[in-house]
């Protein structure tokens, strides 16, 4: 298995260690995961799929909990911007 995985976050290429979750890729891209109902940037809180703060669109599927999904080569991740 390759030691790095390459994917895109909001169109920019990010390289993460194999086994990293999508939440990690978003953080490494310097992005917030979502914008709250009142317009605040939010990132992961619980890291275990409970809080839903890390949700992002992954390969076109909206509202994925990015902290529970592993990065795959070529994955396309979109966050609220």
């Amino acid at each position: 298995m390759p030691s790095q995985v390459t994917l895109t976050v909001n169109g920019s290429t990010v390289e993460v260690p194999a086994g990293a979750t999508v939440a990690v890729a978003v953080a490494m891209a310097g992005q917030a995961c979502r914008i709250s109902t009142s317009g605040e940037p939010r990132g992961p809180l619980c890291g275990m799929g409970i809080c839903f703060e890390c949700r992002a669109t992954i390969n076109g599927n909206a509202h994925c909990r990015s902290c529970q999904i592993l990065c795959e080569p070529g994955m396309e991740v979109e966050t609220d911007e």
């Binding site: 086994g19 109902t37 990132g43 992961p44 890291g47 275990m48 509202h63 529970q68």
Partner: protein, 435 residues
């Protein structure tokens, strides 16, 4: 919608942490068909997540090794959201829907961190203590990052040691409990040699790190992300720069699924008998949902539940003594890391309490119950379904978030299609205590 896969088990275990793995192994070694289902990508739960401490790894590996020879079927990345009929659970994966049926069920749903609101707690890079650790275990680079660790509970020390071993700088660990309760905690450990070994290891790992009692975060500051934290230290504010604030206030049990399945709750935990059976016949519960007692208690309870679920009550009985001893530790934990009253005044009127719906403290204050607040402010109505703000408002306002309705987690519309019963009325917690 049709089910993509159907699984049939004699014993189904929900939750792949220590309690669930122990239950699955012991049940399967009795010769019955056992499945274990978890919503994460791999088994291990939070404490045995890949990359945890060496000692844990050895114990975890020992248990994991027994899963395959015993014939346990592992189903990962699937989250249970509904019981379609008695003995049948539905779970959703990234792009599929599965059905799991069972004769006996073991619920080992674990615990989550308790989060308390304070100004700035919604800034990115303010995370749970376990939350940040999980992110680092999942690949987040932490080398040379400055992390303030705060809140309460033994998890803070374990997290600080872990982050430090991965290159983080830990300027301070803030524990809201008093020195005197920490000292009593230390004294109580003397009867538990294995805990002392762990404590000494932690002490070595944390040599030179400042641990401060009577200390908690007053506010986190920053524009788009975190710059600094103001702490209350012995009643005086102290400001400190950092890249991350890892902050959690001990743990709360995940009891939503047990409630949905009709298990009685007592004092906030799932009520079980000597064999870990809940008040719902054939449904057992083990680990943190029955009391916050850590990995040792979870392993014992998991084994008892797994054995009892196959009718091997004689074998299960042999573990009762060990469980009694481990439960004493749970009592000590609860006594030591109870929350101090001052934490109730941390939120300012504008501080968001419900992060899903951005409901500020000022809008909640005027309500008298969780239900009224939900109906009028949407607090607890977002995707986390009150898993974060529920325990917070329970502490802040003494509200009881005491009902659960299916689906127990948000799911895709297509997963619900064909299940009109998902829209049935709320399942209310039994009246066995102060749930």
């Amino acid at each position: 919608m049709s089910r993509d896969s159907q699984y049939r088990f004699d014993v189904l275990v929900v939750g792949g942490g220590p309690a669930g793995i122990a239950a699955a192994v012991r049940a399967a070694e009795c010769g019955v068909r056992v499945g274990i289902v978890d919503d994460n990508a791999t088994l291990g739960g939070q404490i045995w997540r890949a990359g945890s401490a060496e000692g844990d790894k050895k114990e975890a590996a020992g248990w994991r090794r027994r899963l395959r020879p015993a014939g346990v079927t592992t189903v990962c990345g699937k989250r249970i959201f509904h019981q379609s009929e008695p003995g049948v659970l539905l779970a959703e994966g990234a792009d599929d829907l599965i059905e799991l049926s069972y004769r006996s069920l073991v619920l080992a749903t674990g615990a989550r961190e308790r989060f308390l609101p304070f100004p700035g707690w919604t800034l990115p890079n303010v995370m749970g203590a376990g939350g940040l650790q999980a992110m680092v275990k999942s690949g987040l680079p932490i080398r040379n990052q400055r992390v303030v660790v705060a809140g309460t509970g033994p998890l803070l020390l374990a997290v600080a040691a872990y982050l430090r071993s991965h290159g983080a700088e830990i300027p301070v660990i803030c524990e809201q409990a008093s020195w005197s309760s920490l000292a009593r905690f230390g004294a109580a450990l003397i009867s538990r040699p294995e805990k002392i070994v762990q404590a000494l290891q932690l002490k070595k790992d944390l040599a030179g790190v400042r641990l401060v009692a009577n200390c908690w975060p007053l506010a986190a500051h920053g524009q788009e992300s975190l710059d600094s934290v103001t702490l209350s230290r012995d009643g005086k504010p102290e400001s400190i720069q950092c890249d991350y604030l890892a902050c959690g206030f001990h743990l709360v049990p995940n009891i939503e699924l047990p409630i949905l399945l009709g298990c009685q709750i007592r004092g906030g935990y799932v009520e079980v008998d000597d064999f870990q059976e809940t008040t719902a016949q054939g449904i057992f519960c083990a680990g943190e949902p029955t009391s916050i007692g850590g990995v040792d208690l979870s392993l014992i309870e998991g084994q008892i539940a797994g054995l009892a679920a196959t009718g091997s009550t004689g074998e299960a009985r042999k573990l009762f003594r060990a469980r009694r001893k481990a439960r004493r530790f749970a009592t000590i934990l609860e006594r030591t890391f109870g929350l101090r009253r001052e934490l109730k005044s941390l939120p300012s009127p504008e501080t968001v309490v419900c992060r899903c719906e951005d409901v500020p403290h000022s809008r909640l204050q005027r309500h008298t119950s969780w239900r009224a607040a939900k109906l009028q402010t949407r607090c607890g109505m977002g995707p986390c379904q009150g898993r974060v703000c529920g325990p917070a408002t329970q502490f802040l306002f003494q509200w009881n978030p005491a009902s659960v309705r299916p689906p127990v987690f948000p799911v895709r519309v297509e997963s619900l299609a064909g299940f009109p019963d998902v829209m049935e009325p709320e399942h209310t917690v039994g009246t066995g205590g102060t749930a």
